[in-house]
Symmetry: C2
Subunit: 346 residues, 2 copies
């Protein structure tokens, strides 16, 4: 494979360099063709790299950035004062062509705003959307968006999310004529918010989109749709609710059987069975699919969970690598013109 | 215990009398002080009761209703044409004092509208809210509302939900100074929708409410709050998402280990362990806590899941029984005046 350079906002996220640096080294160890630009305070980053293998640090460069955008900063204000921040410098690496994608676990609103400002949306896209690919019960995958980039999405935006999600499912997941559904609180046409009902009218009349109607929250993981569209507020709450339940199950599974005195063979057997269950459930472990892709831009930006641990952040770096190899922005741009033109007419 | 009469909309829900009638008989068998009014088509209901034990049917009366409100009907239109429908007649039983509560698995919007029209909201309540009590990881319970009665909730409504939820947690769950949180997409004050941020300002300054701030979807089951407040759209999607994940886990748990040839003792042991896990997970099984209470009315109305099975509908009947015994409307009314007056001032 050809060389690939990614820029990492090393200061972003709840744990900053304590997570991003080891995750970067982990990613370099797994992918020999990978080069990483670690953006942040050199004084903080350099000591963390001191003991790393030179075969890894040879493919890594620290790019100085003097400030950090706080997780709780107001996005508008953060963007105004963003010059020299690790997030902005990382995005500038992509803008200047020095990196092919950027990964950040920092302030979502600021990342969304700065990415739009620096990398620009694709023609026909009002606002980019955060997209994740979730595993479902039928062994396949579902594209879900928006996961929090737009807390207020109007019907035109929902239609654009549907188009981007559909392109993603078809060209990246390889699903022909992917099914597209809107997340709602009932299946009946009369249900839910006006923005959703208006988007449904447009999608129903769009021959380019295989629109299948409304689905409810409990159908997210059933594999009934290939693309699930919702506004950013609902998407974020839904994804996090799902994560919370999965984490609770995994921890119950782990703790189950602990603290009881049993014969060694019974304990061993119990663990074996629990391991098998954990493996099946584990495919839904949020750490396994960390990293939402900001779709609709002229470049690749991956948003990691703010609370990501080393493993999860390494998964986000891999997501960026795959998104670049799959040429997601280029593929969306290529299809978007035709699809949106027809949706507009409909 | 004293005699208690409940009215059941026997025609509502996805399965109508096929579920409501056996569930009613099940509830009568478990509660000797219970009397039920089954509201619906006598021609449909009577044959289903033919083989039932007379000790049960003696505490049951069929109340004729000629029509049924469809699940997919537009609420406004359904309410206009509701005269003589099973849902409306069941609510009229409560209004006329012939029953102490009503249970329906029918159209949520119509139930909400008709309940408000017939039973009237309490003083100071703009719109009633659907509330459920969910088990959490710390062995306690969390009051969650609104779960779908109001798809658009303004900040004043969110504050009222907080007050009602708080009264419910204190007086029914017995939690002194219950913690109240708003469901949002981040903990920071700047996050989320304007309605939520405005409600936060009021709640923060209300000495009657122990407001603890924003919580995210993944914190719903952690026991970090006693009351979780959200608008009806988000609450409905969140609850259903949670249900979907729990059902998936329970089905994985059940199927795990099936179809493999193993020695009998290994199979037996596996089943034992799975049973233990299923028991722990099972407390989150949606069927175990079916039945959301419509809070803020001058009477008790329980909304069952439309897709409820017999067991789940019987649980909803029990919820109604408990709500009546706990005098929820009276308790809320008694506390509401003081609390809302102070919140308004704040």
């Amino acid at each position: 494979m050809t060389r690939l350079t990614l820029a990492i906002d090393a200061m972003g996220g709840d744990f900053g360099p304590c997570v991003t640096v080891p995750a970067a080294l982990q990613a370099l160890a797994s992918h020999s063709e990978l080069f990483l630009l670690l953006v942040g305070h050199p004084d903080t980053l350099t000591p963390l790299l001191a003991k790393a293998d030179s075969s890894l640090t040879g493919r890594l460069q620290v790019i100085p950035a003097e400030s950090v955008i706080a997780s709780d900063a107001r996005p508008a204000q953060a963007i105004r004062n963003s010059r020299g921040s690790s997030m902005r410098v990382a995005l500038e690496m992509v803008k200047e062509g020095r990196a092919q994608a950027c990964i950040s676990a920092g302030n979502t609103g600021a990342l969304m705003g700065l990415s739009t400002l620096l990398l620009k949306p694709l023609d026909g896209i009002k606002r980019p959307a955060l997209m994740s690919v979730l595993p479902h019960q039928q062994q396949g995958k579902t594209v879900v968006l928006d996961l929090g980039a737009n807390v207020n999405s109007d019907s035109a935006m929902l239609v654009q999310f549907a188009v981007m999600g559909s392109v993603m499912a078809e060209h990246v997941l390889g699903i022909p004529r992917p099914r597209v559904a809107l997340l709602n609180i009932g299946h009946e046409e009369t249900k839910g918010l006006e923005t959703i009902r208006d988007a449904a009218v447009v999608l129903r009349e769009s021959p380019q989109i295989n629109y299948i109607g409304y689905l409810e929250g409990n159908e997210l993981l059933t594999g009934k749709t290939d693309v699930m569209v919702c506004d950013g507020f609902v998407g974020n709450v839904t994804l996090k609710t799902m994560e919370g339940v999965v984490r609770m199950f995994l921890s119950l599974l782990k703790s189950s059987g602990e603290g009881k005195k049993r014969s060694w063979w019974l304990t061993l057997l119990g663990r074996l069975i629990q391991k098998r269950l954990a493996k099946r459930f584990g495919q839904l472990n949020p750490d396994q699919y960390n990293g939402a892709c900001l779709l609709g831009l002229r470049g690749t930006v991956i948003k990691s969970h703010g609370a990501a641990n080393q493993h999860a952040f390494a998964v986000a770096i891999e997501q960026a690598e795959q998104a670049v190899r799959q040429q997601i922005p280029e593929r969306i741009a290529a299809r978007l013109d035709a699809v949106l033109a027809r949706s507009d007419k409909a």
